[in-house]
Assembly symmetry: C2
Homo-oligomer: 261 residues x 2
């Protein structure tokens, strides 16, 4: 099995190392990731600058690794279409992100976007995120994803071609392994922030703004990833990239938009 690993925290982050160290047990692992932190880059791609690729040593592991001067989506696109053109990956795993990627927030997430790009290229993919604490490490999250990849392929966990276009978004709770209550298949919850910006003044009296904001405590659907994590479950959310809003599609079709013209 050939596994491509990427992330948005950069190729020298702890999460990607732990992930690779665990996945190497399943087959050939290739790491192609941004050369520096690219959090919150969403699905940005680089069209107006060229991308630099450097073959690099990957910590103490004997793994083929490349750092790329681009976004997570760039890394996966470039990997599949150029660097690994004749060695198509069987799966793409993105992470382990340092911090959760829950609910509405996935739309901003570089980690998830790397997995979405894989799905666009028709490769199964998983994004894995965990808020690392002083006491909890990424190891258990890495082991869980490794088992998930194994189940997908070796045990044929889902032999469903639709799943080729499904991204599995996993969030791992920040508690000890004993405190984890299980695995829940979830929907995306709602994440909203208050006090989103902090205004500061520069020495010349001009304003500038820092994005900030605290997560609001909102009512959530019981099926949501936010609720699962809150209750110490591992959340597994299937996501896709078809943004068509079918609910309002039927509604809009009934309106006579021709009159608007």
């Amino acid at each position: 099995m050939r596994i491509l690993i990427s992330n948005d925290d950069g190729i020298f982050s702890e999460g990607i190392y732990v992930l690779a160290k665990s996945l190497i047990n399943l087959g050939e692992v290739i790491v192609i990731a941004p050369d520096s932190e690219k959090s919150a880059t969403g699905h940005a791609i680089t069209m107006h600058h060229p991308l630099r690729v450097s073959r690099t040593k990957f910590f103490d592991l004997d793994i083929e690794a490349y750092s790329v001067s681009g976004t997570p989506a760039d890394c996966v696109k470039l990997a599949v279409e150029a660097i690994l053109k004749d060695r198509r990956p069987d799966i793409v795993v993105s992470g382990i992100n340092n911090g959760p990627n829950l609910g509405t927030d996935v739309i901003y997430s570089g980690t998830v976007s790397a997995a979405v790009e894989a799905a666009i290229l028709e490769i199964p993919s998983i994004a894995i995120s965990m808020a690392r604490s002083k006491f909890e490490t990424f190891e258990h999250a890495g082991n869980f994803v490794t088992k998930l990849v194994e189940d997908i392929f070796e045990k044929g966990l889902y032999n469903n071609k639709e799943l080729n276009e499904t991204i599995i978004n996993v969030n791992y709770p920040t508690v000890s392994e004993e405190e984890i209550r299980g695995v829940k298949v979830t929907t995306l919850g709602i994440r909203k922030y208050q006090n989103a910006f902090v205004e500061r003044k520069d020495p010349r009296g001009n304003s500038y703004y820092w994005m900030s904001g605290e997560v609001m405590d909102l009512e959530q659907n019981e099926s949501s990833d936010v609720v699962a994590l809150r209750n110490n479950y591992i959340s597994v959310t299937p996501i896709h990239f078809d943004l068509t809003n079918f609910k309002t599609y039927e509604y809009l079709k009934k309106l006579d938009l021709e009159k608007t013209r």
Copy 2:
């Protein structure tokens, strides 16, 4: 009516000027847009640098305008949460993008992401795109969107609260007004590219890559925006930001993922 305008081509692009010039007939227009081109930035936001905001003249129009050192999503977030905190916009219109935003490509689009950010903040929004040619100008596209905004509010075109979380993604064909055959409510089609990267060598013999690629001629759903544009219809696609894949959600729930742990 208070209308916030943004885009991803930058505040000094032709499309945003044409859009503002048309929308000013409906009420108060405020332009808050990136200080330079931010195409293909997807839903990136700026968390690790502060955002600079400059009040600016806007061509020959008497419009309140600000340029922001960030992405289209930053502009809308900062507008709603800070600059216009006490003057919440009734609608956000993003564009007119120079180039289409069809099918899968909307996920990369800064223009669409500005509108998506508005919807996350519960403000109705429209994204408008058009491939401008030597012969066709943005004027007709601007006029169409202006009529659409008018219909939404003055004629109560859709009094449906779900539509608050719907983004209307409009693509305008690159033909003369006479050649336009009508308006179609559409779904997102498929856009894939071949020869996605071009490799070059620098003077020291090191490789770098340009993102490139030609659109592939794929079979499309008849209801898609791609087909509508091809047949000279204006496409109106309702999109949303809930990426949950409900089709595979039910399927995954039936699997015993607890065993994976």
